[in-house]
Symmetry: C2
Amino acid sequence: MDSTPATPSLRERTRRAVHAEITDTALRLFAEQGFEATTVDQIAAAAGISRRSFFHYFGSKEDVVLGDLEALGLRVRDALEARPAAETAWEALRAALKTLQGPDTDAVTELQIAGMYADAPSLRAKHLEKHLRWQELFAPEIERRLGIVPGATADPRARAVIAAALACLDIAVEAWRESGGTADPVDLFDAAVAAVRA
Amino acid sequence: MDSTPATPSLRERTRRAVHAEITDTALRLFAEQGFEATTVDQIAAAAGISRRSFFHYFGSKEDVVLGDLEALGLRVRDALEARPAAETAWEALRAALKTLQGPDTDAVTELQIAGMYADAPSLRAKHLEKHLRWQELFAPEIERRLGIVPGATADPRARAVIAAALACLDIAVEAWRESGGTADPVDLFDAAVAAVRA
DNA sequence: CAGAGTATTGCACTCGGTGCAAGCGTTGGC
DNA sequence: GCCAACGCTTGCACCGAGTGCAATACTCTG
């Protein structure tokens, strides 16, 4: 995460610290009382900041859980573009999405977060919204791999492949959660994709 | 729509009338000012009811646009179950989803509604939420067609196929909207599916 | 050290949505 | 035809998320 080499200035450091403090506090409260039952005021109070400041760090309550999906999307896109040109769209997507399962992901926390999705519609909603953004983000690269000329009329094909892959991802994660974290997410993903393409 | 044979009682008739009045008024305002810029108070005032009554007819502002997706989902599920047992999951889904394009759908209104999705995240979000409900709704029938024993562990396959099909549907509709309503939605859907399964 | 820039905060406000209770009309039983 | 039960409408008060604004306090740059 910290690709900043030298001193990132006091401001930046405190900013990161506060950001982390809010995240930790909020996730703890969410785990204790549930996402919806926890108010922003509670989080702010528990984190020792004002309600207004909370909204300076996060655009919404959901964003605390979702993290920076925008940045994550960019990383996946980069991974996608770095895949060999010979790979098919599906192969490249599979490999790129696997980078999400990095070493920085803590299984217990992930399981907790996945659990929140189950009973917080607004959370799922924002998550799905972000996936729509990813669709646009990945589309150029997928169009390349599908051999589609980019300038043409609105072509549903690239978006469809990406949407299907992301749906498989979400479903794999959900099934992983239902298994209590025992099943292998990659296996589940592959099973989902195989069923779709059978 | 009106499968009610006899007089559906005065209450029921007025209720339907008010419901329709709200819907018409709201859609007009949405078309004029945009979805987000229109407040519930405006709709209620324009429809001649109180703000509180609005929320007796619709659970949320979004519901006015989304209509009764729950009922629609049930219809699609019935269509799905009515398909020949010999059809594959994809064939059955394609046929069942085609029933959505019934004679009661007005192209101009549909185009307007599709347009609202473009600049109203909350609308898209609720729409996607409903599709998650559809996933569960269709899952048993799709599991049957995939030859999956229902009692087993959480199997991602059926959900994946359904999610992929719904994604293709949404993308086809979106592409249809971008074409200004000229392209054929079914062709777009088929193209999307073909790309996913290629 | 002075000034430019940024972070924090409180305040007031908007908007969506809900619970409650009172009032009124409809409906059905007698 | 009357009365009671029910349902619908409405106003009111309330909550929680999110935003704009302006004052204050802090950090950084020259």
